[in-house]
Symmetry: C2
Subunit: 232 residues, 2 copies
């Protein structure tokens, strides 16, 4: 594996930082894997085979990002699947509470959920060593397929105004559940939280900065809902 020849950033010699990075990579990896599974399940709601293929391809793009994360966690000396275990509950609960009732709810979830994750990882990328940052940022790159979700949702709302009202509420629910589960992860995972708030020799976010970050995430979510033609 070429990966094993990589010389890792010096930052990773700090055990606390390394633990936080393993947590971070593990939550991204399990997030992608569970998103893949749910998207494929949601694809069964597709009104046509072409739509099903498009959603399956969004799912495939998530799956393709898992292996590099798994490889990196292993390189950092941790069993990747053991590392993912602490995040099963939060992510599984997120999906259990946001199971789409129809195709359009599935599309909104795919688009909004994926975008939220990307915004969050980009926010924290500034605090990561370059190797980890590149890996995390490439893991949450926007796929070519989100255009498809945007188009389909807009078309449907244009043709059916009450659907827009329902999907707007649905978008809020996804955002709310994501925040609940993020809160839970932050409360459970000390190393990750300590990393986010920084340390003596490492920059991080103080509570005010964390607050501002959540404000930005909420604003980006609202912009996205508006782009879909929905009230946030």
């Amino acid at each position: 594996m070429a990966e094993s020849d990589v010389e890792l950033s010096a930052a990773l010699t700090d055990p606390a930082y390394r633990e936080a990075v393993v947590d971070l990579l593990a939550v991204v990896a399990y997030g992608e894997l569970s998103a893949f599974e749910r998207l494929v399940e949601d694809a069964t709601l597709a009104p046509s085979l072409a739509d099903k293929l498009a959603l399956a391809q969004m799912a495939g793009a998530e799956l393709a990002k898992v292996q590099p994360l798994v490889d990196r966690i292993a390189l950092l000396g941790t069993d990747p699947f053991v590392a993912m275990a602490p995040f099963h509950e939060a992510l599984d609960e997120f999906h259990a509470h946001t199971a789409p009732a129809d195709w359009y709810e599935g599309l909104v979830k795919a688009y909004v959920g994926d975008s939220l994750a990307r915004d969050f990882y980009r926010e924290i990328a500034a605090y990561l060593d370059p190797d980890t940052r590149d890996l995390v940022v490439s893991s949450v790159e926007e796929g070519l397929h989100s255009e498809f979700a945007i188009e389909r949702i807009r078309e449907a709302i244009a043709a059916d105004a009450p659907l827009g009202g329902r999907l707007a509420l649905w978008g809020r629910r996804i955002m709310g559940e994501a925040l609940i589960q993020a809160q839970r992860v932050a409360a459970d995972r000390d190393a990750l939280t300590a990393f986010l708030v920084g340390g003596v020799d490492r920059p991080g976010m103080d509570l005010a900065a964390l607050g501002r970050m959540f404000t930005r995430l909420t604003e980006l979510h609202s912009d996205r809902m508006a782009e879909l033609g929905l009230d946030a």
Copy 2:
């Protein structure tokens, strides 16, 4: 799309041949897409997250092959999803009759089903124009992931001899169902069948050659079952 710049083989100007090629690409595409869906479903039976990821990656490899086939069918002037419709029934029935009862049946199905499809498409590749041949052959390339299925099945049989007996019967059932459905497709799709048996100005297989092909496919299946440690 780069695809639209491709100059297609002269053979494709023959409408009967072109119709057969569209059928062939469509059955491969729908085969990959339905295999993807079933593999992801079967992955939920995995005993561990690592196993689940491995089967999901076999699924992802199938999915990745769909788009080039879809693009080619469109380039040949046919709606790809309309072209796939005549094959839904045979492939959906195949899957309905071979729904795995557990993880190991799922693994055997993944490995045997994928290999059978590959053997068949390689058999008929010789009768195709170069463009179509390259596309079909690359669409059924063996993934890196089948090693995983072979290893897991062998380990399990070594630890549990009665499982070997059950999986041997299961492998026969998959082969039998595949032949039943292939027969149905051959009976329904005149252009495809006419292509297989050839024509005045185009080589094909006579009935004896078709018989020999089925013998070879069955032998390859037996070899593969033996490789797994199973009686065919």
